[in-house]
Symmetry: C2
Subunit: 651 residues, 2 copies
């Protein structure tokens, strides 16, 4: 690279893009000419501070550039003003006002990049780049004049074309209502929000760099929301609430049954869940110190029934075969269509559903975990009333829903309960004494440790049930066929007869918590369904081993992978390759909120997911029967609880 | 054209399109293959009857075809059924079921053409082809199955692609709500409405061929609506109502003044005019025997202030220079955004405005009168509080608004009133006796004829004021400078002193109606403004003669062109070239309702109209001053009232 007289050479890092420009060109103009990712909202007026850059001083021999801070003109008045008002680090300059008078190497810090990485998945290769669907643009609009009778909108569109290269924009009606006042109040300077590069959805007088979005995960039990800054990608607040539909039925199927029995009641269920979303919106905005009207974009994930009820669609068809969805496509709506108390121009993006049992929540899990981005074969499991299972890699992806029933949620278990304070979530049984110790949600101490006294114990949640049954088998209380060994009543008072079978008393109470023979059977049925679903997908994919297992959702967050594997819930794999990913569906909603490209990606991936319907696969029944028993704990390639305990004892 | 064995030759009239097809091909399939304009809603199921055709029997020597009715298979069972249920003329066949077994010439009657001509402008070359923005499509949708888990919408889209070649369709949320029920109630046969070829906006179970639209002309004084069948183009009902905004101000400027003085009151004005549109919608539907929910499409025209108030936009800016419109572009909205009680999927098209004084009503006049389609130079005049003037031909079009003030509407005239029953609309003055005779709106007899006795006379409307002043000049009561000649008081008691000037008593009353000197001055000011506006546009276009003059609106409908020309309101032209076109703005709205192409046309034409602002044109003032006087009635190239009367007397 060489420069002619009156020209300066510049290279931008980290992109490495470079070129020659007339001396006096601003850094922002040079960056735009080279398509360098340098952000701006105010259009180069020194207001927004988003185009901050740093001069990389020294001899860059490879580039043939000797770069000096003095190769920019001295700090300008607008930069001084910005520094005094909003702060500017000593080595920082505003790219819009810093003009180049000598050769330069310019560092663009991550926060000055429009497409900066905003969600890094821990210990994963995947990065999510900010690619916001809503962008703010500050513009100077010409004043009206008798001699050129156009309109406020026409002059705004002219300005957006001239300053930002935006053309062919549509405009919401409510923006027209706000535009007249905003132009005059802002002395013909306004900031507009442009949605998806196509539509003006908001206008404010003067300069503004605030645009918020909310990612909602609508679960049957809980509804979670994350308030994000659409400009920086930052999470500003998170909040959750119980799904108020619970009063119409504890689980999904009982809510569908309610709708079937009360014609027209879906409108009621729709109303209460939308009220919940509205309340969360207000709570999130207040927590972060903003107004609900600052929210311009919303994304929603949920299982098919929640998806339908939020949208006001009758879920009855999802209550029985053939489980016909009203739509499986993604939806782009106005927030007003869902009665959400946000900006009048706010839009909603609802992620696509995959099949009648595999919803937009699973699409969110896929977007978050990205099995399609890897050669490794991933198994994603999200357990609720049903277990949604996704298996595959970049070549093929399969999905199914396995009818585990609600046992993993603590239902249909004599002492079961939802995961909530007071619920036993961890259990260990001493194989010698058959005595248990356990831990309760939100209490750090185990039941045999100091500090546990006085803790209220109310029941056993899903992860506790998995552990207690796995531990009962490991301790020999339960056979591999799932029969509680009554002969042990002679060794321990915890083995008690109950009718013609036996129970294991986990806690003396009150309340007294015992694991009955029927409870063990319920766990066996549920885990066999999950195992059979995983196995069926592995058959379809033609693999007998998976490289990576991810357990999603609240259940996945609490479960101990070792116990799940010991029980045979999930395929045997290296324990190090098994991880819990928390609310991956919610993370997917957040990714879709911040990245336009991610929306296109999830739609494309969901389209090519192969849907496997367990109900019509004869092999599913075979696998189910084969998985009823509990595998030999010594036979796996992983450390089972018993083996680990023995190793510890020997150490 | 020759056919090979097993093939038949067919020609369609009036298009003349022809081809060869395998024997057994249906007429509809052949028509589609040849892109012949043959309508269908039911997709060839023998239900809708829109594909009716007639065999043109005989030897068509030019085509080399001998066509016989017997060259179609005999009447089929579905045709028999259609005949018994809905009637089918003896020579008619359903194109979808009539299969060809020999050579044929097929007549497609106008009512079977999708793009049939629906609005023929009397005595004009222009024809409006039906090109509906909403089309109905009847389809058979696959039933859901466990083995192929898609969704109701996905299967509907498949069917629309397969049967109608429609792809990439979007779908309203409310359609998803209706879709589940419609599919099951209709046994997987449904009819959908597709808007603009892009969006499914409605769905009904089974077959349906009803789709209605309303064209609204929102005037300051009256609001008119026409209910049209979007499938046939037919007008089913028309209705009008007083604009209820009148209680906030009689004319436009007093309503703007009300809004200026009562902050936020534009919402009130918006509410009442929308309520008026809603009431008219219900009235129109009831009159025609349908439901408001059958209405799928609405178009709206109106002056800029009505345009803004219907849209909920503050009209204050239009109350003073520089008269900045919020938008001048056409708008595509959902009817719900304007609170209209029609189908949830109904859309609204608002025609574009031209300038701050020249509104969507003038765009409607242009669409109706099509000056851009002709070499002849047209002058279109729509008189209200201001006069909107359009001048030009296919090469150039100019528009301006002239500040005539409300005199032509009867305001600011001592005995003036709105055009309503009781108002004098026609006046003749005998030049010998100076005695007047007049006619009153909705009374056929003149005041000196039998049958007039007992008629209530309340005032003089705009057209009556024009006539009385023109007649006063013709009779010599008034000089060409506009001075009432007090010396005539000696000849007639109708000339009365009033202060230092004189009046002419038109009716003894009660109420007593006299034309004062000031009334004459008001008419002079108004007509001078109109004349100066016309003259200014003629200067800009570089013509001193126009080929065609069209007077639009209620005023144009009542005014006598000869009097208007005598008064110098409009340029001198051959009287035969001057016509009244009634509610041309409303006709424009109706054209835009029925023709998608017309929308593109009016947008394109309005974009290239040259806007002339009279307020900043010095020549406007010159023309205005020059036009204050009343031209010599003998000097024109047209028959003036006096000349005609003399001719009559001599005959």
């Amino acid at each position: 690279m060489s420069a002619t007289a009156g020209e300066v050479r510049v290279a931008f890092m980290p992109s490495g893009k470079r070129g020659s420009f007339a001396a006096g060109t601003s850094v922002l103009d040079a960056a735009r000419a080279l398509a360098v990712d340098l952000d701006s909202i105010c259009g180069g007026r020194g207001i927004c501070g988003r185009c901050q850059i740093v001069v990389s001083e020294g001899s860059h021999t490879k580039l043939g550039i000797t770069s000096r801070a003095g190769h920019l003109i001295p700090l300008t008045a607008p930069e001084e003003l910005y520094r005094s008002r909003r702060g500017l680090a000593p080595d920082r300059r505003l790219g819009c006002h810093a003009r180049m008078v000598g050769d330069l190497v310019i560092d663009v810090p991550p926060e000055s990049q429009l497409h900066r990485q905003v969600i890094r998945k821990d210990a994963e290769e995947r990065e999510i780049e900010l690619d916001p669907v809503v962008r703010l643009h500050h513009v100077q609009v010409e004043q009206p004049a008798l001699a050129s009778p156009t309109s406020d909108l026409a002059r705004l569109l002219d300005a957006l074309g001239r300053e930002w290269g935006l053309t062919g924009l549509a405009c919401d009606l409510h923006v027209l209502r706000d535009l007249q006042g905003a132009l005059r109040e802002g002395d013909w300077m306004v900031t507009v929000a442009v949605h998806d590069g196509t539509t003006i959805t908001a206008v404010w007088p003067g300069f503004r760099d605030l645009a918020l979005g909310i990612a909602f995960d609508v679960g049957s039990t809980t509804v979670a929301g994350h308030l994000c800054d659409l400009v920086t990608g930052e999470v500003l607040a998170s909040a959750g609430a119980m799904n108020p539909q619970i009063r119409f039925g504890e689980d999904l199927m009982s809510r569908v049954a309610y709708v079937m029995m009360h014609r027209g009641s879906e409108a009621q269920l729709t109303r209460v869940v939308r009220e919940c979303l509205s309340a969360l919106t207000r709570e999130l905005a207040e927590t972060a110190g903003f107004e609900p009207a600052d929210v311009l974009e919303i994304t929603i994930v949920g299982n098919p029934i929640m998806h339908h009820l939020v949208l006001g669609l009758d879920p009855t068809e999802l209550g029985g075969a053939p489980f016909a969805l009203a739509t499986n496509a993604s939806l782009r709506l106005r927030a007003a269509e869902l009665d959400l108390p946000v900006h009048a121009g706010a839009r909603v993006y609802v992620l696509p559903c995959i099949a009648g049992h595999v919803g937009a929540d699973t699409a969110g899990v896929i977007l978050s975990e990205a099995p399609q981005a890897s050669d490794a074969v991933s198994l994603l499991v999200d357990v609720g009333t049903n277990a949604e299972i996704v298996l595959g890699n970049r070549d093929r992806l399969l999905a199914a829903s396995s009818p585990t029933g609600p046992a993993f949620e603590g239902a249909q278990i004599s002492c079961g309960q939802r995961a909530a304070p007071g619920a036993i979530e961890r259990v260990r049984i001493d194989p010698e004494t058959l005595e248990p110790r356990f831990r309760v949600i939100e209490t750090r101490a185990w039941s045999n440790e100091p500090g546990f006294e006085g803790t209220q114990v109310s029941g056993v949640c899903g992860s506790g049930i998995i552990e207690v049954v796995a531990e009962m088998v490991a301790a020999g209380i339960c056979s591999r066929e799932g029969v509680i060994d009554g002969s042990l009543a002679a060794r321990s008072a915890r083995i008690e007869p109950e009718g013609r079978t036996f129970s294991y008393v986990l806690a003396e109470g009150p309340p007294r918590l015992a694991i009955t023979q029927n409870d063990v059977r319920q766990v066996q049925l549920a885990k066999a369904a999950l195992a059979a679903g995983c196995r069926l997908l592995m058959d379809h994919l033609g693999v007998d081993h998976v490289d990576r297992i991810r357990l999603a959702g609240a259940f996945g967050a609490h479960i101990d992978p070792a116990h799940a594997m010991a029980l045979g819930m999930i395929p045997r794999a290296d324990l190090a390759s098994v991880g819990s990913v928390g609310n991956a569906a919610g993370t997917g909603a957040r990714i879709a909120l911040l990245s336009r490209a991610a929306r296109a990606e999830v739609e494309e991936v969901v389209r090519r997911v192969e849907k496997i319907e367990t109900a019509i696969e004869p092999r599913f029944q075979e696998h189910f029967v084969a998985a009823i028993g509990i595998p030999s704990s010594a036979g796996g390639d992983s450390a089972t609880p018993r083996r680990r305990r023995r190793e510890r004892r020997m150490a």
